[in-house]
């Protein structure tokens, strides 16, 4: 069973925000980068699939679209236990269709049995790239999976789709398939220091972006939202804050 996991090195904003001169994105100096939380969960799930099979039968390949810094995300995947990593060279943020097209060019060549993606990225929250990729690869797909069981012999998986309100939809899906993985499906492992060190030495294959078509959208303007009236602030002294909270609670519940 070959499992491809698609991951993203997301941007995390701090307390302060500045925009680029054209106001279409946040100034990169104001963000930190990290492996997307949903993708960590997807990597863990891929490793569990691999570990349930014998060594010769399975492989986990991590793929990402991004700049040099995206290699940090791939190194973490390698440290967790992925066998190989591939980066599609791309500067800057792109819309989900552009990213899906790029991923498709690499994932198609891998001919995987299973493709796992996180449900969404924390910085864009489109929840779209995985399912777009499935379409471009003509794969069966299920979005927002919170439980995965598969049967290699019958080429089928039984998954739980997590609906609103916690209702679960039990879905049977033919392999090969793409699943988008929801947090909570597992508790991702921490890489050992030794594995992190070894992952630094591993080669990451870098490939160019394929020719693309039009994207799903173009950011016209980015801005800090008006907070409206906002919350009335209770100050920054813990004692005073607690007293005010106690008063408010008492007043509202009486």
């Amino acid at each position: 069973m070959k499992v491809v996991v698609c991951v993203k090195q997301v941007a995390v904003l701090g307390d302060e925000v500045e925009f680029t001169d054209d106001e279409t994105d946040v100034d990169p100096d104001y963000v930190e980068r990290a492996l997307n939380e949903w993708d960590v969960t997807a990597v863990e799930e891929a490793l569990r699939v691999k570990e349930s099979l014998s060594e010769s039968e399975s492989e986990v390949v991590a793929v990402s679209v991004g700049d040099d810094e995206a290699e940090e995300a791939l190194r973490r995947c390698l440290a967790m236990g992925a066998d190989r990593a591939i980066r599609l060279e791309s500067a800057g943020v792109a819309d989900p269709l552009t990213v899906a097209r790029a991923l498709a060019s690499v994932v198609a060549k891998e001919n995987p049995d299973l493709v796992l993606c996180g449900v969404q990225s924390s910085d864009s929250v489109q929840a779209a790239t995985g399912v777009m990729l499935a379409e471009l690869l003509d794969l069966a797909r299920v979005a927002v999976v919170i439980k995965l069981e598969y049967d290699v012999a019958s080429r089928r998986a039984s998954v739980h789709r997590e609906l609103e309100g916690g209702l679960l939809d039990v879905v049977e899906v033919d392999l090969p398939a793409l699943l988008t993985i929801q947090t909570g499906i597992n508790e991702p492992r921490y890489a050992t220091l030794r594995a992190i060190k070894q992952a630094r030495e591993k080669e990451i294959e870098v490939v160019g972006l394929p020719a693309g078509g039009p994207g799903a959208y173009r950011v016209r303007r980015m801005y800090v939202p008006e907070r409206g009236a906002g919350a009335e602030l209770l100050g920054d002294d813990a004692v005073a804050v607690a007293v005010r909270i106690a008063e408010l609670v008492k007043g509202r519940l009486s």
């Binding site: 995390v12 904003l13 946040v26 819309d95 269709l97 449900v119 929250v125 489109q126 929840a127 779209a128 790239t129 995985g130 399912v131 777009m132 499935a134 379409e135 069966a140 797909r141 299920v142 979005a143 927002v144 739980h160 789709r161 609906l163 609103e164 309100g165 916690g166 209702l167 679960l168 039990v170 879905v171 049977e172 899906v173 033919d174 909570g184 508790e187 078509g213 799903a216 959208y217 173009r218 950011v219 016209r220 980015m222 800090v224 939202p225 907070r227 906002g230 919350a231 009335e232 209770l234 002294d237 813990a238 607690a242 007293v243 005010r244 909270i245 408010l248 609670v249 509202r252 519940l253």
Partner: protein, 313 residues
């Protein structure tokens, strides 16, 4: 291209609330509104979507009784091919996530999700949505000349009232044998407490840092006469059962007082608690999105406040 197409969402033979919100949202554009209902037998559901502001109801006979993403994909592609709508609106829901992006990728359409505002400017659809943990907003422009698929954030628009008077039409669609098949539903486990019945919720999130701290907030809640609820990361970590979870994938709550400790306020969380009577948020990040819906807020260490509250009760 003309008109706005709404795709209704239903489950167990019942229309889901988001559908009524989509119909209200569709009124943002001065365009005729068609609502499509996709089901094995859409007749009864078609009556339910004849809501205020709907010009046409399209009953699409396809697939089984419950959602399957291949069926919905084929049906929506047929609808778009036949109707050539300018804008297609769906809920930003788990069902939509399963097929709408595929339709956009296949037909080369414009696409944006978690949209909370939209308009048409100089022939282009412009959608408003958040980026970077909802700390910034953006206007995104969708490509001209092709339909735009928008997945709209739930609980932003008021639900449309029942009306009656829309024209009816039918569309028969041949869909492929689904590669992902609905088997059955499993209800969310029932917990020992019903957080939806509480007048006062003390709610904790990632900010509490460690599993060891759960116990003290359970004690604090008890002292204060509150019920303890949690945000998703606490459930994902296995620290508390999902029955205590507030948010889209958990419970929607409306207590008199919602006191949040260390909850940043993901969109899905806010959707589950923003109707609460009085919202008080304690968080060390002054930019946390929860302050956008809170009535009272304090940017201060939550453990210090918890210590002081323990002394007061």
């Amino acid at each position: 291209m003309s008109g706005t197409l709404v795709v209704a969402e239903h489950l167990n033979g019942r229309l889901r609330d988001v559908t009524r919100e989509l119909v209200t949202a569709a009124q943002e554009l001065p365009r005729p509104v068609s609502v499509a209902v996709i089901a094995a037998d859409p007749t009864a559901l078609a009556d339910l979507v004849d809501l205020e502001g709907v010009d046409e109801v399209v009953a699409v006979s396809a697939g089984g009784d419950e959602f399957e993403n291949d069926v919905y994909q084929d049906a929506l592609e047929a609808l778009i091919g036949e109707r050539q709508p300018e804008v297609v609106v769906l809920g930003f829901t788990v069902n939509s996530m399963g097929y709408a992006p595929a339709v956009a990728a296949k037909l080369g359409l414009g696409f944006a999700s978690d949209v909370f505002g939209f308009s048409i400017e100089a022939g282009r659809v412009v959608a408003r949505r958040a980026f970077y943990g909802a700390k910034v907003h953006a206007e995104v422009e969708l490509p001209a000349g092709v339909p735009a698929v928008l997945l709209l954030r739930p609980t932003v628009w008021a639900p449309a009232e029942a009306a009656g008077g829309a024209t009816r039409s039918d569309l028969a669609v041949t869909t492929r044998a689904p590669r992902a098949r609905h088997v059955r539903f499993v209800e969310a486990p029932v917990g020992d407490v019903d957080i939806t019945a509480a007048d006062f919720l003390l709610s904790i999130g990632r900010g509490i840092g460690d599993k060891e701290n759960i116990e003290r907030f359970l004690r604090l809640a008890e002292k204060m006469g509150a019920t303890l609820s949690v945000s998703r990361p606490i459930v994902d970590s296995g620290w508390m059962p999902s029955a205590r979870q507030v948010g889209q994938s958990g419970k929607t709550v409306k207590p008199k007082v919602y006191l949040a400790f260390g909850i940043s306020g993901a969109v899905q969380h806010l959707a589950g608690m923003k109707a609460s009577g009085t919202i008080i948020a304690v968080n060390t990040d002054p930019e946390a999105a929860i302050f956008g819906v809170a009535h009272y807020g304090a940017v201060v260490d939550l453990f210090d406040v918890a210590d002081e509250l323990e002394k007061l009760y």
